[in-house]
């Protein structure tokens, strides 16, 4: 049975909202201003996206290691492994193929 987490408060939701907003504004501002080189901007976008996903998981989905049932955490971990293999494998094969066909 799932008990309410420590993040089930108005203050906590607002904290999550402000953090998410900041982590949205940073990549949009970087792209809009074009101040950094392309590679640095892409890295900043990825870091901000991962950070914001974690913020959403903690503050909005209330995932944590105390109140979230163990099975839910395991299913999430399994899905993340699966996604890494599928996405990583797809990109590896397709871009290697592209490289060999064009090169």
């Amino acid at each position: 049975m799932q008990k309410p987490a420590g993040t089930h408060t108005h203050k906590s939701y607002l904290t999550g909202f402000v953090l998410a907003l900041i982590l949205t504004i940073i990549p949009f501002a970087l792209v809009w201003a074009g101040a950094l080189p392309v590679m640095a901007t892409l890295i900043a976008i990825v870091v901000a996206a991962v950070a914001q996903m974690l913020v959403h998981m903690y503050y909005f989905l209330h995932l944590n290691f105390r109140t979230t049932p163990r099975d839910n955490i395991l299913a999430l971990a399994f899905a993340i492994v699966l996604i890494c293999i599928l996405v990583g494998g797809t990109l590896w094969i397709m871009f290697d193929l592209h490289y060999r066909m064009m090169g």
């Binding site: 049975m1 799932q2 008990k3 309410p4 089930h8 408060t9 108005h10 939701y13 607002l14 999550g16 909202f17 998410a20 907003l21 949205t24 990549p27 949009f28 792209v31 809009w32 074009g34 392309v38 901007t41 892409l42 976008i45 990825v46 901000a48 996206a49 914001q52 996903m53 959403h56 998981m57 909005f60 989905l61 209330h62 049932p69 099975d71 839910n72 299913a75 999430l76 399994f78 899905a79 699966l82 996604i83 599928l86 996405v87 797809t90 990109l91 397709m94 871009f95």
Partner: protein, 205 residues
Amino acid sequence: MAIADTHPAHEEPAVHLGGGEEFEEREFGFWLYLMTDAVIFALLFATYVVMSGNIAAGPDAKSLFSLPHTAGETLLLLCSSITFGFATLASLAGQSGRVIQWLIVTMLLGAGFVAMEIIEFAGMISAGAGPGTSGFLSAFLTLVGTHGLHVSLGIVGIAVMAVQVSIKGLTNPVRSRLYRLGLFWHFLDIIWIGIFSVVYLPGVM
């Protein structure tokens, strides 16, 4: 729990999320569904990244995407996430009226998002950038369209939920459905983070 104690309870306050022990399996099952949905989106993302360069002499991402438009959509969805959160808090405090009010606000924000997306797609298709134009556009419209379809179904779900709360009150089955719908809605916002980070931001650079 502290949450239940700090709010005046008009109906019985919940000490558990969702509908309690009898709905445990459904709630876990729904979580498994979300994980499989995440895998579907991950593959659509992978397809998009592979296809994003194949514009077949058609329009490219830079000429089609608008940064302010995407920022607007992002803001609507983020605001709808927190308003659903307030509906969840109201349900934990047993305030069914508040739950309905926040659900209606969430629904309006979600509808605003879908409207912006439809305007974007309609503009693209009328400018000759339909899904048949290039591999890039096929992959783009499939990925973003699938997300938009999820959000549209979520809006229908929220409408049904608001009616159920008003008719049945915050009974255990209703609480369980509200909890699962909330997971779905917040999950879609997480997918959107991926969409603006992988599709729109690199696209306009």
